[in-house]
Each structure stands twice: as structure tokens, then as C-alpha cells.
């Protein structure tokens, strides 16, 4: 019964200095060996993975920013291009309007000039005609007057004169 109580209190063997020393040596040995062969490599691998993941995240973040920047640039460029195109169209429209106006203007001026010169020509022709008519009237009056004077001539002569006159008139034409 004494063995029973003793073993309840201190366990099967009690406190053995030898066990303690062995435990200490074993545990420290285990600590060193595992640290070298198991935990070290394992933790290195985990660290490596952590770094890898962090690196990947960084890279992804960077490329995302890059993509965003490029997109922004592209959209800005597109906007600028659109603006340019708008400007060009606007310019063309303006130039076209100007040209249209110029052409119309010059056409009108040309027409005006042509009309003017035609009118002048007509005027000149008219004056010429009037002049010619005047000349003719004058010469005919003289002729008539001379004929009236020649009335006192003989019948025969008169007839001859008329004939002559008619002939002359025919020639005159």
C-alpha cells in the first residue's frame, strides 16, 4: 500500500535526476535538429511564398496602374483627335462659304460689267444709226430741194431726172 501512495504522489518512478538530464539533452537536441532540418526549410519556403505573393500583388497593382494610365492617355488622345477633326471640318466649311461668296460676287460683277459694256455698245450703235439717218435726211433734203428747183425743167428732162433719181435711189440702197 505504501507503494501505491508513493506512486500516486510522485508517479511511477519519482524524480530521477538521470531522466531530467536525458530529457533536457533530448529536447535540446530535438530543438536543434528540427530547427535545422524541418522548421528552417519550411519557414524559408513559407517566407518565399509570402514574398512571391506580395511580389505578384505588387506587379499586378503596377500593371493595373499602367493600364489605367494608358487608357487615360488613349482617351485623351481620342478626344484631341476628335477636336482636331471638328476644327478641320469647321475650317473647311468656313473656307467653302467664303469661296462661295467670292464666286458669287465675282460672277455678279462680271455680269454687271458685261451688261454695262453691252449697254454702251447699244448706245454707240444707236448714236451711229441716228447720225447716219441724220446724214441721209440731210442729203435727201438737199436732193429734194434740188429736185424741186429742177421742176422748171422740161418734161423730158424731168422724166429723165426722175428716172435718174430712181436709179440713184436704187443704187443708194
Amino acid at each position: 500500500m505504501q507503494g501505491f501512495t508513493e506512486s500516486l504522489v510522485l508517479g511511477a518512478g519519482g524524480l530521477n535526476i538521470g531522466d531530467m538530464i536525458v530529457q533536457l539533452v533530448f529536447f535540446l537536441g530535438l530543438l536543434a535538429l528540427l530547427g535545422k532540418f524541418a522548421w528552417g526549410p519550411l519557414m524559408k519556403m513559407m517566407k518565399e511564398r509570402e514574398d512571391y505573393v506580395a511580389n505578384e500583388i505588387n506587379t499586378a497593382e503596377k500593371s493595373r496602374e499602367e493600364a489605367q494610365r494608358m487608357q487615360r492617355e488613349a482617351s485623351e488622345e481620342l478626344k484631341a483627335t476628335r477636336q482636331d477633326a471638328q476644327n478641320i471640318i469647321e475650317d473647311a466649311r468656313k473656307t467653302a462659304g467664303q469661296q462661295e461668296k467670292d464666286i458669287l460676287e465675282s460672277a455678279r460683277a462680271e455680269a454687271e460689267r458685261m451688261k454695262e459694256s453691252a449697254r454702251q455698245e447699244i448706245e454707240q450703235e444707236k448714236e451711229k444709226a441716228v447720225q447716219a439717218l441724220k446724214d441721209q435726211v440731210a442729203s435727201m433734203s438737199v436732193m429734194i430741194a434740188s429736185k424741186v428747183i429742177e421742176k422748171e425743167l422740161s418734161q423730158k428732162d424731168q422724166e429723165a431726172l426722175i428716172n435718174q433719181y430712181i436709179d440713184e435711189a436704187g443704187e443708194e440702197r
Partner: protein
């Protein structure tokens, strides 16, 4: 009462030194436990990959588990120093606890196969190691002055209590583990004794034995966890700035 009457394979007065006694069963079981932990640790970390599979996953889970224990007690910058210690302590104590749950081996009247942690000397050795380490790191990481001031903080008259606390910490840390595992083994031994009394005893002992083995496994895990947790608590008291 069978198991309690088993004798330990003692080697007394080893090498003619009067105070040097070995319990050869303890020595054997410590060796077995260390070997198993070492083999498991090395086997798990052979052939490591960045994308972990199988066993490596388990070991990484274990590392994260211990990391969690350390992280709940101290800053990870100082705590990382103690990760190998925590891992080894946990693995060793858990395996040692399990050895006694799986089976107790008796050769003749001599108890050879048992948990090494069912011996107070062994658990106290581990506890003493932990407490001594906590003092060592206290001096190393914070300097002798800060370490000494830790004993009179927050109030100087606490000094005696602080000193007593160091010894009581050691005792409770070791004896808690020993008590739990030893009690589990005694009950398992009693149930084995009951089972060997006859056919009726065997039938009657089977169900409680299976239940108790399951419970002991749980206890073994919890005790390993508590040991590591308290190790980190004591370490953090000594190495952290805010204590």
C-alpha cells in the same frame, strides 16, 4: 490495481554516482517520442513546394497554429524568435502524450511503454527549461536593467511575490501536464486491469476504454496547447515592453 503495481525499470546509482538514477522506460519513451517527432518533421519538409500539398499543408497549418498562439501573446517581431521552440514543444509534448494513450506496454511486471510526460521529473524539466529560457531572453532582449526592473513593477513591494511567482509558474506548468497525462494513464491502466479479469470484465471495460482513449487524445492535445500557450505567456512577460 494492476498497473499501479507495475515496477519501473530503474537503473539506480548509475556509473556509481549515488544521486544519478535513470528510469529506463522514460529514457526509452523520450527517445521514441523525439524520434517520431524528428521523422515526422523531416518527412513533412522533404520535397517542399511553393504550392503545398498533403503533409506539407499539415505542417504549415501547424506553423500557423503556433504562430497564432505566439501572436496572441506578443509582438510578432520578437515572437518569431520563439516559433521553433513553440513548434518543437508542441510536437514533442503532443506525441509524448499520445504514446501513452495508444497503448501502455508491460513486459513481465515492468512498465516499459508509457507517456514520458506521465512523469513529474520530465514535465518539470521542460517547465524549468521554459522558465529559464524566459529569463535568458528577458536579459538578452531587454538588457539586465530592464529585466531587473520587471521584478519591482508596478510596485516595489511586489518583489517577493514576483520571485515566488517564478517558482510557482515552473511547478504549475510542469505538474499540470504531468497530472493530466498521469491521471489518464492510471484510468487506462485500471480499465485494462478490469478487462483482464474475465470475459464479463472485458465486455464491461471496452466501451469506457474507447471513450476514455478518445478523451485522452483530446486531453493530450489540449495539454500540449496549454503548455505552449503558457510558455509564450511567460516569455512575453519577460520580453515584452509593456509588462
Amino acid at each position: 490495481m494492476n498497473s499501479l503495481n507495475h515496477e519501473a525499470p530503474m537503473w539506480e546509482d548509475a556509473f556509481g554516482i549515488s544521486w544519478l538514477d535513470f528510469n529506463l522506460s522514460n529514457v526509452l519513451m523520450m527517445f521514441v517520442a523525439s524520434l517520431i517527432v524528428f521523422i515526422l518533421g523531416v518527412a513533412a519538409t522533404r520535397n517542399m513546394q511553393r504550392y503545398p500539398t498533403g503533409f506539407q499543408n499539415f505542417m504549415e497549418w501547424l506553423i500557423d497554429f503556433i504562430k497564432g498562439i505566439i501572436g496572441s501573446n506578443m509582438d510578432w517581431r520578437t515572437g518569431r524568435l520563439f516559433l521553433p521552440l513553440g513548434l518543437t514543444l508542441f510536437a514533442y509534448i503532443f506525441v509524448a502524450n499520445m504514446l501513452g494513450v495508444v497503448t501502455n506496454g508491460v513486459v513481465g511486471h515492468t512498465l516499459w511503454w508509457k507517456s514520458p510526460t506521465a512523469d513529474p521529473g520530465i514535465t518539470l524539466t521542460l517547465a524549468t527549461l521554459v522558465v529559464v529560457l524566459s529569463h535568458y531572453y528577458g536579459v538578452k532582449l531587454r538588457g539586465g536593467g530592464e529585466y531587473a526592473k520587471g521584478f519591482v513593477r508596478p510596485l516595489p513591494f511586489l518583489l517577493p511575490f514576483k520571485i515566488i511567482e517564478e517558482f510557482s509558474n515552473t511547478l504549475t506548468l510542469g505538474l499540470r501536464l504531468y497530472g493530466n497525462i498521469y491521471a489518464g494513464e492510471i484510468l487506462l491502466g485500471l480499465l485494462v486491469g478490469l478487462a483482464t479479469t474475465g470475459i464479463g470484465g472485458f465486455i464491461g471495460a471496452t466501451v469506457p476504454m474507447v471513450a476514455w482513449m478518445g478523451f485522452s487524445t483530446f486531453i493530450g492535445f489540449i495539454q500540449a496547447f496549454i503548455f505552449v500557450m503558457l510558455t509564450m505567456v511567460y516569455l512575453s512577460h519577460k520580453v515584452s515592453e509593456d509588462h
